[in-house]
């Protein structure tokens, strides 16, 4: 039987506010335990929550960025459960009326086999809620330790429709969402610190069946690699179960990166009944038209719009435009390079090529690039005006990277200027031709490419300073 995989994601994005969602305690990561808690966060009796305007603003930004409905009125509810890192005995969340409803995001999928494709994934909702604290299960004489620094950190939980049909699509969705929330700056995207955590709902059904199969929810995946591994394992597990005649039970499961397997956390029998009800401490959140309009005006140009503009304004291919808008910083670097006088196509090639490759190798991001956009433009200008050829430019870039010197300084100092004196190159060309009578013969008998092989020898003879185009032209001229 052929099986179809159905996947939906719930992503918890930690918002970039300075203070918590309902208190004025700091949200900074890594402080000593329990030093960033206010009376609300530790649930002292009588302490009342006061909503952070910055958290609401970020929810509005997200809603507008995905073309969703930003509800002018939304409700906060109590989600009741008991756990020591949740001092109130409930989490303040949104249930019936979330701040954001609907919206969609376009994903670029690179399947395991076949060509990449685009797909639109619809979103169900996004709602504001508070994070819980952290439990430390190291041994404290048989006790657990509780750190409430994270308690009350604002989260936007983003829920997708179950529209993904493979691990590759789920990863593409998570990446697209990640890129968007970091692009508009509502989330710092630090996955190691838990700023972007995914719960993945997975089910399988026989191809062609309309009803969904029973789903299991994989909790708390904090890397794209784990999302992919966990889904692949889980899908195979579910298919094996069904094909062995067993039924899937709804359950919450955990992925163990060490074993690469998923395991049951709790089954449906003891699944939580959260008994949601509107929080009497928090009246409805009302968002004015003016507020939404201002956020709309201040929203940065979004990746999709920027891609279209890059194609139009700089004549870049769709692929180049997409690659350069992978992050806001990369896009800004490209635009700054062009603004500093570099040819756009060359700038795109250099940034996507040598610059990105070297950054990857050194595990750096564009923000730490030792060659500035101005410096790169300086190099590209020397390629455009034929001062140096492409191959020399690669070496110059390497030296710029190491020394921080400008391209012109290196070219001058190391005498890398391209030889444009035809006479000097002609002498080299003559010598090369004299040594390669066979190539000349082949060329004359119609094998056009025979001379291309000789360009390399001319380049070598010139110490890399000849212009390859000019060398080929001279070679042809001499033999015909």
């Amino acid at each position: 039987m052929k099986w179809e995989v159905v996947i939906g994601l719930e992503v918890h994005t930690q918002l970039t506010t300075k203070s918590k969602i309902f208190s004025a305690a700091s949200t900074a990561f890594g402080a000593a335990p329990n030093t960033q808690t206010a009376v609300v966060d530790i649930a002292l009796p009588g302490a009342l929550p006061v909503m952070n305007r910055g958290a609401v603003e970020r929810a509005i930004q997200f809603g507008l960025a995905i073309g969703a409905k930003v509800n002018r009125k939304s409700i906060f509810a109590r989600k009741n459960y008991f756990y020591p890192d949740l001092p109130k005995g409930y989490q303040i969340s949104q249930f019936e009326l979330p701040v954001v409803e609907g919206g969609a995001i376009t994903i670029q999928v690179q399947p395991a086999k076949g060509d990449p494709y685009e797909k639109v994934i619809n979103l169900t909702r996004a709602h504001l809620e508070e994070d819980a604290g952290k439990s430390v299960h190291e041994d404290f004489h048989g006790a657990s330790g509780i750190d409430l620094n994270r308690a009350g950190t604002p989260l936007l939980e983003i829920v997708s429709e179950p529209e993904m049909r493979s691990a590759a699509e789920a990863v593409a969705y998570a990446k697209a969402l990640y890129s968007l929330v970091t692009w508009i700056g509502i989330c710092d995207g630090n996955m190691q610190e838990g700023s972007f955590r995914c719960d993945v709902n997975v089910s399988v059904r026989p191809e062609g069946q309309a009803e969904f199969g029973t789903r299991r929810e994989i909790k708390n995946l904090n890397s794209f690699k784990f999302i992919e591994q966990a889904i692949k394992y889980e899908v195979q597990w579910q298919i094996d179960e069904i094909e062995s005649g067993r039924k899937i039970q709804q359950a919450t499961i955990l992925f163990d990166p060490d074993s690469g397997e998923t395991r049951m956390m709790r089954s449906k029998e003891d699944a939580h009944d959260y008994r949601y009800f509107p929080d009497p401490d928090l009246p409805p959140l009302v968002i004015s038209e003016e507020w939404v309009e201002r956020v709309q005006r201040e929203l940065p140009e979004l990746p999709v719009a920027m891609q279209a503009r890059f194609a139009e304004q700089y004549g870049l291919s769709a692929y180049d435009a997409r690659t350069l808008t992978a992050s806001k910083e990369l896009a800004a670097f490209f635009e700054a390079t062009v603004a500093a006088g570099a040819d756009a196509k060359l700038a795109a090639n250099w940034i996507m090529g040598d610059i990105s490759a070297t950054l990857n190798r050194e595990e750096k991001t564009i923000a730490d690039c030792p060659v500035s956009s101005d410096a790169l433009a300086g190099l590209i200008k020397r390629i455009s005006d034929n001062t140096i050829n492409n191959k020399t430019a690669k070496d110059v870039l390497k030296k710029m990277w190491e020394s921080g010197d400008a391209a012109d300084v290196i070219i001058e100092r190391d005498g890398l200027k391209q030889e444009t004196d035809t006479g000097a190159i002609e002498a080299i060309v003559d010598a090369v031709l004299a040594a390669n009578p066979k190539a000349i013969e082949e060329y004359r008998s119609g094998k056009e490419k025979a001379l291309n092989a000789l360009v390399g020898q001319v380049m070598k003879g010139s110490g890399g300073k000849a212009n390859p185009g000019m060398a080929l032209e001279l070679l042809k001229k001499k033999v015909s």
Binding site: S23, A24, A32, F82, A143, S144, P283, L285
Partner: protein
Amino acid sequence: MSLSQDDVRRIARLARIAVSDDEVAASQAQLNQLFTLIEEMRAIDTTGIEPMAHAQDVMLRLRDDEARAANRREAFQAVAPSVENGLYLVPKVIE
């Protein structure tokens, strides 16, 4: 609608309240009285009335995003039953 004794036990378990068998019977009677009241309210025609999420007709007050709460760990932990290395200690929880 009326609750069975099993319903009462389940609600008690969800709320982490220990109830004896006698208490279950008493709670069942009290809760079912509440449901009678709810049934009466449900019978009222509320067509065209927007549901309320809050008893008062007010809207949420917002504060500016400023981190200005002082570190009061020492004061908070002075009243905690057990602390170590800045952490609150609780009976071991394993999921």
